[in-house]
C-alpha cells in the first residue's frame, strides 16, 4: 500500500514488486524474502517501534512479524488488498497485542520518556526517513479536526482501544469510535486511498 499518487522512485518498492517477492517467498525463496525484508522493514519496524516503544521488544515483535509473513506468504491474496497493507496489518496487530499485555504496558509506561526521546532525537543516518509520502500524510492529517486526529493517533500509533481513547480524551463513552471512523474516512478521502 505504497501511495501511488506521487511517483517518487525512491519509495520502498512498488506494490507489484512486493507481491512478486511475496509470491517467490511462498515457494521458499529466501533471497526474495531478504529483498522483501530490505524493502519493507523500515515501514514495519517503524510502526512496531512506535506502538511498542521498547526497543528490545520492538525487535522481538518485528522478528515475529517477518516469520509470520514468511510462513503465510502463500496465503496472501492480492484480490483482498495490497501486499504492503497485508504486511502492515500483521505488524500492527502483533504490536498492539504485545503492548496490551500487562507487562508490556508497564514497560511502556516506565520507558515512555526515554524511548520516545530515542525516536525523536535519533539522528543517525538510518533514522526516520522523511519522504513525500510522509509529507502527504502530514498534510492530510491537518484536514482532520483536532479530536479526530488525536483519537486516530492514539488508537493507531499508540495501540489504545477506543474505550481507553474515550476516557483519556474525556469523550463521552462511545464517541471515540466515531471520531476514529470519521478521521479515517477524512484521511482516506483526502489521500485518495485506493485498495
Amino acid at each position: 500500500m505504497v501511495p501511488s499518487g506521487d511517483d517518487s522512485s525512491e519509495g520502498p518498492a512498488r506494490p507489484v514488486q512486493l507481491e512478486q517477492l511475496l509470491r517467490r517467498a511462498a515457494t521458499g525463496d529466501e533471497t526474495a524474502f531478504a529483498e522483501l525484508y530490505d524493502a519493507v522493514s523500515p515501514r514495519l519496524f517503524g510502526l512496531v517501534r512506535r506502538v511498542v516503544r521498547d526497543p528490545a521488544q520492538s525487535e522481538e515483535v518485528t522478528q515475529e512479524v517477518f516469520l509470520e509473513i514468511w510462513r503465510h506468504s502463500a496465503r496472501f491474496d492480492p484480490s483482498k488488498g495490497a501486499a504492503m497493507s497485508w504486511m502492515l496489518t500483521i505488524a500492527h496487530r502483533k504490536a498492539v497485542d504485545r503492548v496490551r499485555s500487562a507487562e508490556a504496558a508497564r514497560n511502556r509506561d516506565e520507558g515512555y520518556g526515554a524511548s520516545n526521546q530515542d525516536v525523536t532525537h535519533d539522528s543517525t543516518a538510518e533514522a526516520v526517513v522523511e519522504r513525500l509520502d510522509a509529507e502527504r500524510v502530514h498534510r492530510a492529517l491537518e484536514t482532520l479536526t483536532p479530536v479526530q486526529r488525536q483519537a486516530l493517533e492514539m488508537a493507531y500509533l499508540s495501540g489504545y482501544t477506543h474505550t481507553e481513547v474515550a476516557s483519556m480524551l474525556d469523550l463521552p463513552l462511545g464517541t471515540a469510535k466515531t471520531r476514529i471512523r470519521d478521521g479515517l474516512i477524512r484521511l482516506r478521502d483526502t489521500l485518495g486511498v485506493t485498495l
Binding site: 529466501e30 531478504a34 516469520l67 476514529i180 485506493t194
Partner: protein
C-alpha cells in the same frame, strides 16, 4: 449496542477493539458487504500513517530474521491456485470454497467428531497472518446464540491470559443461561488429542461443555446452562473427549 455495530468499523480498522468487540464485529463483518468494503478502505487509509513512523531496524535484526526463516518452511496455500476453475471443482461456489477451507483447517488429523463440531460451529476461522477473518458458513442456532450472548445487556466478561500470549475470554449472559468462549492465539492440540470445554459448578464438579474446534482464534458456545457455574476450563483430552477431565486444565476462567 447491536444497533450501531457498523460504527465500530473505524476502531476495528485500527485494532482499537477489545477481543470481545473484535469477535462480535468480525461476525457482523462476515455478513455485511458494506462493512467489508468500508473496513478494507479504512485499513488502507490507516496504514498510510506508517509513512510517518519509518525507522530502519538495527542491522542485526536482518540476520536474525533470515536465520530464523531458513529453519521454517512457508505454509501451503489454503485454497487451490486461482486458475483452478477448469478443474473438477468448476462449480465451486463461495460456500464450497469456504467448506473447503474449513476442511483444510479442521482436517489436521482430527477424527470425525471434530468435523461434526466444526460443522456445528458454522464458522470457519481463517487465520491469515494474525488477521482473523470470520466467514459465515450458514445461519445456525449456535452462531445465533453466540451473537445473542455477546450482545446481551447482562453479558459479563471474564478473561484469562495463557502461556505464549494466547488468551481465553468467557462472556456469560445469565438471562440467556449461556456462556461463550473466545480464544485467541491458542496452539493446536497435540496429535490425536482434542480440546474439551468444561463448566465448573459450586462444588467444584466439572461438566463437559463440548469440544473446541482446534486452537487458534475461536468463538464457541459452551453447551449446558452456565447460569450458576463458577468457572470454565479447557483440558486436553483423547480424541472424542472424556466424561471427566483426565488432565489439569490448560486454561481456567473463573466467573468472579
Amino acid at each position: 449496542m447491536s444497533e450501531d455495530i457498523h460504527a465500530l468499523s473505524g476502531a476495528y480498522a485500527v485494532d482499537a477493539l477489545d477481543e470481545v468487540e473484535r469477535a462480535r464485529f468480525e461476525r457482523h463483518l462476515a455478513g455485511c458487504s458494506a462493512c467489508q468494503t468500508e473496513v478494507d478502505s479504512l485499513v488502507a487509509a490507516a496504514h498510510q500513517l506508517s509513512a510517518l513512523t519509518e525507522v530502519a531496524p538495527p542491522p542485526s535484526l536482518r540476520a536474525k530474521v533470515l536465520a530464523e526463516i531458513s529453519t521454517v518452511r512457508p505454509l501451503p496455500p489454503l485454497e487451490a491456485p486461482e486458475p483452478a476453475e477448469g478443474s473438477e471443482q468448476a462449480e465451486d461456489s463461495a460456500a464450497d470454497e469456504l467448506a473447503e477451507r474449513r476442511r483444510a483447517r479442521s482436517g489436521r488429523g482430527f477424527g470425525r467428531g471434530w468435523r461434526l463440531v466444526v460443522a456445528a460451529a458454522t464458522v470457519a476461522v481463517l487465520a491469515i497472518g494474525g488477521f482473523t477473518v470470520w466467514r459465515q458458513v450458514s445461519q445456525d442456532p449456535q452462531r445465533v446464540m453466540a451473537d445473542q450472548v455477546l450482545a446481551a445487556s447482562d453479558a459479563t466478561r471474564y478473561g484469562e491470559r495463557l502461556a505464549g500470549g494466547a488468551t481465553a475470554t468467557v462472556v456469560r449472559s445469565s438471562s440467556l443461561h449461556r456462556a461463550v468462549l473466545i480464544t485467541s492465539g491458542m496452539a493446536q492440540p497435540p496429535a490425536g488429542k482434542v480440546f474439551q470445554l468444561w463448566l465448573q459448578d459450586a462444588t467444584g464438579h466439572m461438566t463437559s461443555a463440548g469440544l473446541m474446534p482446534g486452537g487458534g482464534d475461536q468463538v464457541v458456545v459452551l453447551s449446558g446452562d452456565a447460569t450458576h457455574s463458577k468457572g470454565a476450563g479447557i483440558t486436553v483430552e483423547p480424541a472424542g473427549g472424556s466424561d471427566q477431565p483426565t488432565s489439569n486444565p490448560i486454561a481456567f476462567v473463573a466467573f468472579a
